[in-house]
């Protein structure tokens, strides 16, 4: 895993006597440096459309990875929570629909949007954790659908089918944050922050307790942990990530409509998280990158191959099915397996780690 991130062991058991700066693995320096100088290499379309979108979708899927990987709860409502975040920014902030938008300044609108989205996510979680395992998928799918239909039919608050357009990021420090390079750094910042925070939380007492709840809820509650509260709190945390992603997504396309948070996009987030892998926070970003690349270039590729360009969904579906079939841990799982194969002694056939 030398390229994409540290092994769990290398960060979990830091050697003594090193400063925290020295403890950061080499891979982080390399990836970080490449990402930082990207605007010098890549064109505007790459920066804004490919990488910006990757970071945003990755951030939303990161919440799902946190829930699924550490909490064992697969929620399909992440995109709806992102949608709530985006809608609230449009409603409380500035948009072209000035009959509904309140036009409050960004430093009021954004916190309100985040809080409302987190409330929505917490409520969803509170409903979802009343049931277990696969029921969660169904209930969150139903909630996602309910939000989609509600937003589509409510004209008083959500402006119905057409939603809001002209939702722009604030002009802070005199920078147009929708410019390619600026937007790239904006999304990169939040994606990196989300990634690091998830990594940190996964090793903080809360994250460890959550993983304990995932592995054996009965034992954890016998130990005195409040299982339900941990699960609901996990939903709250995941919805913060989704809400940030949702606001960025709204700024990227400058509009939000029910279709943004429809059932298709909700499932796409799950596809992204599963393709990337739910065991490590880097997974969603890998998944999002693959998804965005496919979504952007698959049509051209299909046309060159002589197939109709609309068969994009088929391609995504097959890729998803193949990943679930052969590598339930996603791309990360493939990577791990490859590494283990390479370590294996060709004579004895034993793995490098075991005796």
């Amino acid at each position: 895993m030398s390229v994409f991130g540290p092994t769990e062991a290398s960060l979990a058991t830091p050697s003594e006597g090193q400063s925290w700066l020295e403890r950061i693995p080499v891979a982080y320096w390399i990836v970080g440096l490449i990402l930082l100088i990207m605007p010098a290499i890549a064109g505007d379309f790459m920066l804004f459309q490919i990488f910006g979108w990757t970071f945003i979708l990755g951030l939303i899927a990161l919440g799902l990875m946190f829930l699924g990987g550490y909490g064992g709860m697969v929620s399909l409502a992440q995109m709806s929570i992102a949608g709530v975040g985006g809608y609230m920014v449009a409603i409380f902030g500035v948009s072209a629909i000035d009959t509904i938008s309140l036009g409050w300044p960004w430093y009021v609108a954004i916190p309100i949007a985040l809080v409302i989205a987190m409330l929505f996510g917490t409520l969803t979680g509170w409903l979802a954790v009343r049931t277990e395992g696969i029921y969660t998928i169904m209930i969150t799918l139903a909630i996602a659908a309910a939000f989609f239909y509600f937003a589509r039919q409510n004209y008083v608050m959500f402006n119905g089918f057409s939603g809001f357009n002209g939702v722009l990021p604030p002009m802070l420090f005199g920078v147009d944050w929708r410019g390619p390079a600026a937007f790239y750094y904006l999304t990169l910042f939040w994606a990196a922050l989300g990634y690091l925070v998830v990594l940190y939380v996964s090793r903080a007492p809360f994250g460890l307790a959550l993983q304990g709840v995932r592995d054996n809820p009965r034992r954890m509650s016998a130990l005195g942990y409040n299982v339900t509260a941990h699960r609901v709190a996990a939903y709250t945390f995941a919805s913060l990530l989704a809400a940030i992603g949702g606001i960025l997504l709204t700024w990227q396309s400058a509009q939000i409509s029910p279709g943004t948070a429809g059932i298709g996009p909700a499932i796409d987030i799950l596809v992204i998280a599963v393709i990337g892998g739910m065991r490590h926070p880097v997974g969603p970003f890998i998944g999002a990158f693959i998804y965005v690349i496919l979504k952007t270039y698959a049509i051209d590729a299909l046309v060159t191959l002589g197939l109709a360009g609309e068969r994009f969904q088929l391609l995504i579906g097959i890729a998803f099915l193949a990943i679930v079939f052969w590598s339930p841990d996603g791309i990360i799982g493939l990577w791990d397996r490859l590494r283990e194969d390479r370590k294996r002694d060709p004579l004895t056939g034993r793995g490098g780690e075991g005796p």
């Binding site: 697969v74 029921y135 309910a146 509600f150 799950l270 088929l314 995504i316 579906g317 998803f320 099915l321």
Partner: protein, 336 residues
């Protein structure tokens, strides 16, 4: 029934009073203040019957879903795609042969065979891994939706009912009184009534099959404890195969019914998947009577919602779901 009344006397009384009011509203000639309050009786009766017949359709879809879930713990999120496939197959068959009735066995067989293939090739390999199975069904539904869009395009198809079924049925229910004193009777599409009766018949047959036959005994034992069942020497894989085929086939039949009621088009798969999800969440997972009750409730809620509060009709069904989840997470008929 008496058991329920003895344990919850207050609730039983409330239900009895509501039922009495409903029966009065159906049979009586409405006084003018009631008409002023909620509109014409004809609208009310139509919404009621549409809701009940829609409930029959939902029951057909959801009973297969809940049967498969109850036995195999497999949340088949491709169930909506099976429904849509049944609709398309039924349409093609009805067009080809000219017999509407032939569409039903054709859709049942084709979709059931497809279900058997799914169970053999896909789900059997990942038995016991609930989450992975569910993810696989999502992948299958994405692929199937696109393949069907490829094959049949984005058009709306309508399976037309034969002439002996079209036309209205004169009922004995009075909707209004003309000034001359003549009574106006409600007319209702015959095909809907017939299909609803067929759904009820299928439900009854299913209940008898589950509760009165040896195969049903095997299935119920499998629902309770499938490891113990297979340890006693029952060939559980065959039971799984049979139940999956039957559940898928029911979805196929429901596709034909839906194609006759409404239309077959892309997107219907998601709609009916969601409907069956909500139905089984409300009714209780894995319970056939629960599916019937949930389907009836959701069908009625949808129809009354679209008549009396058109903007939020869809939201009403989800509110019911949220209410059930909040107070009775295992569903109305589910076992905790």
């Amino acid at each position: 029934m008496t058991d329920f009344a003895r344990r919850h006397p207050v609730w039983a009384a409330v239900i009895a009073i509501l039922a009495a009011i409903l029966i009065w509203m159906i049979l009586a000639l409405w006084p003018s203040w009631l008409v002023d309050l909620i509109g014409k009786k004809k609208v009310f009766l139509n919404a009621l019957f549409n809701g009940i017949t829609l409930g029959g359709l939902y029951f057909l879809v959801a009973s297969g879903f809940t049967l498969i879930f109850g036995l195999m713990r497999n949340v088949n999120l491709a169930h909506g795609s099976l429904y849509l496939l049944g609709g398309y197959v039924g349409y093609e068959f009805a067009e080809l042969t000219g017999y509407w009735l032939l569409a039903f066995p054709a859709a049942f067989i084709v979709v059931a065979v497809f279900g058997i293939l799914l169970q053999l090739v896909v789900f059997r390999r990942m038995e016991g891994q609930d989450l992975r199975q569910t993810l696989v069904t999502i992948g299958i539904s994405i692929i199937m939706a696109d393949l069907m869009l490829w094959g049949w395009g984005g058009d709306f198809y309508n399976i037309s009912a034969p002439s002996w079924l079209s036309g209205p049925l004169e009922t004995i229910l009075v909707t209004a009184q003309k000034r001359s004193g003549d009574l106006v009777y409600l007319k209702y599409p015959l095909v809907r009534v017939v299909i609803f009766l067929a759904a009820v018949a299928i439900g009854v047959v299913m209940w008898l099959l589950l509760n009165r036959t040896k195969i049903g005994m095997l299935i119920r034992a499998g629902v309770d404890d499938r490891d113990m069942l297979s340890a006693t020497g029952a060939r559980i894989q065959l039971v799984f195969l049979g139940v999956f085929a039957f559940g898928a086939g029911l979805a196929g039949i429901a596709g034909v019914v839906g194609g006759t009621f409404q239309s077959v088009a892309p997107g219907e798969d998601i709609r009916f998947l969601l409907a069956s999800l909500v139905v089984v969440i409300v009714g209780g997972m894995g319970s056939i009577p629960g599916a019937a009750l949930g389907a009836l409730l959701i069908g009625l809620a949808e129809q009354f919602g679209s008549v009396y509060m058109p903007t939020y009709a869809v939201v009403l069904t989800f509110l019911i779901m949220v209410g059930v989840l909040a107070f009775r997470p295992q569903g109305l008929m589910g076992r905790s």
